[in-house]
Structures are given as C-alpha cells and as structure tokens.
C-alpha cells in the first residue's frame, strides 16, 4: 500500500510539473508570436502546434524512461499475481512501450486481478460461513436433519447419527421416512403437515410432542418432541429442517401406567387360565352325567370365561394403543377362513343368550393383509356388542363382500336397541372420556375405540349406521393383500409393520 501511495503521489507531482512546463512553453510561444513576431491568427496557431509537438516529443523522450520505471514495476506485480493463462498475452517487460496495446493489456490484467481478488474474497467469506455453519450444525447437541424437496436426507449431524444409531453417511441420500420410523400420538403427523405446507406455503414451522422413534436392533424406542421448519425457496435445497428434543426418560416414566396395566393383566390372567382349565376338565368328565340345565350352565360358564379373556385383552391393547405400543404385523390371510373361525369362537357366547349368528361370506374374496390376532379382536368386539345390544332380537347378521372400492368389507348387523343419533359420533371415543355415553350405552366405548384404532392401522375404515329401536350396523374395510404387498416390495420388507396410530407410520412411503 505504501508503495502504491508513493507511486500515485510521484505520478501526480510529475504530471503537475509536465503540465506546468507545457503551459509555460505554450504561453511563452503565444507571447513571442503575438507581441514580438506580430504573427496573425493562423500563423500563431501553426507556431503553437509546432512548439507543442516539439515540446511533447522532448518531454516524452525525457520522461519516457523515468515514467516507465514504476509502470514496469506495476507490470511485474501484475504478471506475478495474475495467472499466465488468462487469455491476454504477457508482453516482455523490456519491450514495453506506451501505446494502446500496453494500456489494453494492462487493463485486462488489472481487471482480471480485481475479479480474482473479488472471487477470492467471496470464496473465503463463503468458506468461512460454510465452515461456521457446518461446525454449528455438526456440534449442535440436538439431532438435526435436513431434507431436500424430494424428502431425501441431505444432512444429518453427529447427534442425529448417535440418536438414530445409523452413521450420517448412511442416512444421506435416503428417504427420511425410510430412515426415521416415527409414530405420532395423533393424526397430525409430520408427514401430513409437510404435504400440506408444500402446497400452501413458502415457509412454515411446526412442532409435535411425544413422537416415538423405533430404532433398529431392538433398542427401546425413543420418545421425543419434534420441531420442523420448511422453506420452499432455499437456494441450497435446504427445504426442510428437523430438530429432535429427546424426552425418552421423562415420557417412559409415563409408561409405568402401562406397566401397571400389564401387571394387573397378569394377575387377571392366572385365575382365568385356571378357570378355563377347570371348566374344560369338568366339561370333559361330567358331560354325560349332567342334566340339560346343568349342561347349559356349563356352556354359560365357558362363554363368560371366554368373554373375560377377551375383555382382559381389550384393556391391555387399549393401554398399548394409547401409548402407541401396539404393533401390527400384516400378513397374507384368507379372509373367509379367519372370519369363519372367529365367528365359531364367539358363537357360544351368542348361543347362551339365544342368539344365532348368520354368517354370509362372498366367494372369491381376495386374500387380505391383516394382523390376524388384532382383527379377531375387532370381530370379537363388534359381535360382542351386537350380542349385548340385541335386546329381544335373536339374529345377528355377519356379511363379508368386496365393496365398490375393491376393499374387503365386513358388516355386523343387529336388530336390537340401536344407538341414539346424538351419540353416534362419540361412539369411537374411549369410554372414560365421556361419562354420559357410558351411562347411556354401557361400556362399548372401550371396544369400539380399540377396534377403530386397529382397523385404521390396517389402512381400513370402521363405520357405524344405526337407528334407535331398529338396531345397528357396524362395518369395516380391509385392504386386499395385493395392495399391501406392493408396498412391502418397495420397502423391501417381508412383513409390513404398523403401529396402532396407523397410517401415520411411514405414510408417504406407503403411498408412493
């Protein structure tokens, strides 16, 4: 800088001297021509031009070498700094002469140099920013994921890798739903939110509580709060950011409620096991010796024990649904076989109340993708309800057919009390949440709440139609296995696992 300043000052000074001399000579020439020689206008101009030319030539020659020194120095500097292959031929310093060529060459080099300096400055600023950003993101003590517009993970920090138990490098480039097996406590999931904001908003943010993440290798599931930020127009494709706030410890403490239920269930099941065992022994041994009345009592005893077993399972599963711990493994099953066997199991319960189950199953139903145990519970609940509310009616109809949407639909219809329209919409709410319901319609809420959760998790729908005094019809749909198996092929799983909250899990993946 000192050198440049000195050079500027020197050049200014020299120019000043040159102009001073130049003007003095011109003024002297004008004075000489006008006053002494008495030249006319054109002669005077001609003289002045001659003087100017001679003088310029003299000054140029005299100052030429002197001025070239700093120019050559600048030139050397430029050559040293600017890369050789910049498209402008570098002249040899000793052959440098004043002229258009020199000026063009020099300005080209200087321009190039300036651009380079600018680029270098920008680069280093960018690099600094990147480094800084990277450092912050990497060392952020919270798991952080960045997604591009295709919901592919483009960045996962160290905390994220540790949390999920997968190296960041293995997550980058993968679909977020493949890597993060999240379940949400309500139907407002990250997935549905993201879909909505993508069509509606340029930027948006949201958060969720009690999200559950299933981690590979049978680690206990992680529980956390999730915050997401969406920015559609980000130039670096940082479209969506996810930050996880772990609360596994805190939330698992709430799970003790589930442990309590599990323990109670254990205590209930032991006497139940015995009860059913002794009933069977007595039934075997005494069958031929009992009066018809006592035989009937024996049947009722068995039916009641069966019902208690079903109820115990309900309690347990409701607790699991509430805690999002009910996992379904969907497998290919022949629906007619499953339905028939479930109806046979429950027929005894109907029989002891004088009710006949009339089961009609359409031929050639496609195989369904179900978790058989859970769907049996749905059937148990619907048929048990129908038995409970049949009143004096003695028939319950069970129909299964392929509906217009190509889904396997099963309908349980009773001709009993029916349900008041005013409470139809609350029917699938858990019973202890609405005490009026309980007073009016017994304890149905529990079973229906569970059934709804199970059917929904299967990708189906549970519905009700009822008229007071005419009976109720409950129906649910199931997906043919063919529809599910495509999904299984895509995700590479042999088995399709769903949580009770259902569709929620890996929704996008399943729909894609």
């Amino acid at each position: 800088m000192d050198y440049l300043q000195r050079l500027t000052r020197q050049t200014k000074l020299r120019l000043f001297v040159v102009i001073l001399i130049d003007n003095s000579v011109l003024i002297g020439g004008w004075w000489l021509g006008n006053k002494i020689l008495g030249l006319n206008g054109s002669e005077l101009i001609a003289l002045l031009v001659i003087i100017a030319l001679v003088e310029t030539g003299l000054i140029a020659t005299a100052l030429g070498n002197y001025l070239m020194q700093p120019l050559q120095a600048i030139w050397q500097t430029v050559l040293h700094l600017a890369p050789e292959s910049n498209g402008v031929a570098a002249p040899k310093p000793e052959s440098l002469r004043f002229g258009r060529e020199l000026v063009a060459s020099l300005s080209a080099h200087i321009y190039r140099l300036t651009t380079m300096a600018q680029e270098a400055a920008d680069d280093s600023r960018q690099q600094n920013n990147d480094l800084q950003r990277n450092f912050i993101a990497q060392n952020l003590p919270l798991p952080l994921f960045v997604l591009d517009p295709t919901e592919t993970i483009t960045f996962a920090n160290e905390a994220a890798a540790r949390y999920v138990g997968i190296a960041a490098a293995d997550m980058i480039g993968k679909n977020v739903y493949m890597m993060l097996d999240m379940s949400f406590p309500s139907e407002e999931t990250f997935d549905t939110w993201l879909k909505a904001v993508k069509t509606e908003k340029a930027t948006a943010g949201s958060s969720w509580e009690r999200v559950r993440l299933n981690v590979r290798d049978n680690h206990p599931a992680r529980l956390f709060d999730l915050a997401a930020y969406y920015n559609r127009d980000n130039p670096q494709h940082v479209e969506t950011m996810l930050v996880l706030f772990d609360h596994t410890k805190q939330y698992s403490q709430d799970d003790q409620a589930v442990s309590f239920i599990a323990l109670s269930v254990h205590e209930l099941r032991t006497p139940l096991t015995l009860l059913r065992g002794y009933i069977e022994v007595l039934d075997d041994e005494l069958k031929d010796q009992l009066t018809p009345e006592l035989q009937d009592f024996m049947l009722k005893l068995r039916a009641q024990a069966d019902q208690l077993t079903a109820f115990v399972n309900n309690i347990l599963n409701v607790a699991r649904v509430d805690d999002d711990q009910l996992e379904l493994k969907l497998q290919q099953e022949d629906w007619a076989t499953t339905l028939k066997s479930a109806v046979e199991m429950i027929a005894l319960r109907a029989q002891v109340r004088g009710i006949t189950l009339k089961c009609r199953i359409a031929r050639d139903l496609p195989p369904v993708g179900i978790d058989e145990l859970s769907i049996r519970e749905v059937l148990n609940n619907l048929i048990d309800n129908a038995i409970k509310y049949s009143g004096r009616s003695q028939v319950i109809k069970i129909d299964s057919y392929l509906n217009k949407e190509g889904l396997v639909e099963t309908v349980v219809q009773d001709f009993g009390l029916g349900i008041p329209t005013s409470i139809l919409s609350n029917l699938f709410t858990k019973f202890y949440r609405d005490h009026r319901n309980r007073a009016q319609i017994g304890g149905t809420g529990l079973g229906l709440y569970l059934s709804k959760a199970i059917v929904t998790a299967h990708g189906g729908n549970l519905w009700v139609r009822s008229k007071e005094g005419e009976g109720s019809t409950f129906g649910f749909t199931l997906l043919p296995y063919a529809q599910l198996s495509e999904v299984a092929k895509q995700s590479g799983d042999q088995e399709i696992t769903r949580s009770a909250h259902g569709w929620i899990k890996n929704h996008s993946l399943y729909r894609r």
């Binding site: 254990h266 099941r269 032991t270 096991t273 059913r276 069977e280 075997d284 347990l316």
Partner: protein, 134 residues
C-alpha cells in the same frame, strides 16, 4: 371332546419338562399332557429347572417366565447360548401370562420354539400345540 387322544405309540414317549410355579396350572397341564401321551416332569424353581434341563434329556420344555430364583428369560438365554456344546436338543415353548413389550417378546420368540399366552388356551389346546411341535 370326551374321547381321549390315542397315546403316542408310533415312537418313544416324548418327555416334557414343565417349568411352572403356579401349582394349579402345572397340575392341569400335567393331567392333559399325560392323557395326551406325554411323560411330564414339573419343576417350580428356576435354578433347579435349569439344572434339570441341562442334565436330563427332554423333548419339550414348557417355560414360564415369572418363576422363583431365576427368571424364565434367563433360563432361555442360558439354554439357547450359541456357545453351548452340545446344544440343548429340547424344543422350548414359553408359556406366560405376562405381557411383554413387543421388542422383548420378539427377542424371546427368536430364541424359543413357541410362545403361548396361558389365558388364551385351554389344556386341550396346549396338547394340540405341543403335538404340532416337531
């Protein structure tokens, strides 16, 4: 139902070790299994049961999970230890009324040859189940 299944005469009588601390349950199971043609030994204590399983030859071990002195899960782990030479030949069927977390249950099912919730089956159904364990 009144007819008893014919005793298993086609091959030698299969031996069952029933590890179950609830006396009434083991009594019911022993009765049904004996009628089904099996030879049943019942042990209520975990450590003693493990010792028996390691020294005697059984075809099938029915294993309750909540038992005194040593848990069923622990017994399962010891018996199914991959480093064990020679491995235990018996098929192990877990019989429990305790509800497990899904991941725990999956772990147990991986090591055992069967998993039964006792309240879900009657003694007859247990015999049918055991008949099908090959």
């Amino acid at each position: 139902m009144g007819m008893e299944p014919p005793p298993n005469t086609s091959k030698s009588i299969r031996k069952i070790l029933c590890i179950e601390d609830e006396h009434f349950i083991s009594e019911l199971y022993t009765r049904a299994l004996t009628k089904g043609g099996y030879e049943v030994e019942t042990i209520a204590d975990g450590s003693k049961a493990l010792e028996a399983a390691e020294t005697n030859e059984y075809d099938i071990i029915l294993l309750d999970l909540m038992i005194p002195t040593m848990s069923g899960i622990e017994i399962l782990r010891v018996l199914r230890d991959p480093a064990r030479v020679p491995p235990i030949r018996a098929k192990i069927i877990v019989i429990t009324n305790l509800e497990q977390r899904d991941d725990v249950r999956a772990d147990i099912e991986k090591q055992a040859d069967g998993y039964i919730v006792k309240a879900e089956i009657t003694p007859h159904e247990l015999v049918e189940f055991v008949d099908n364990v090959k």
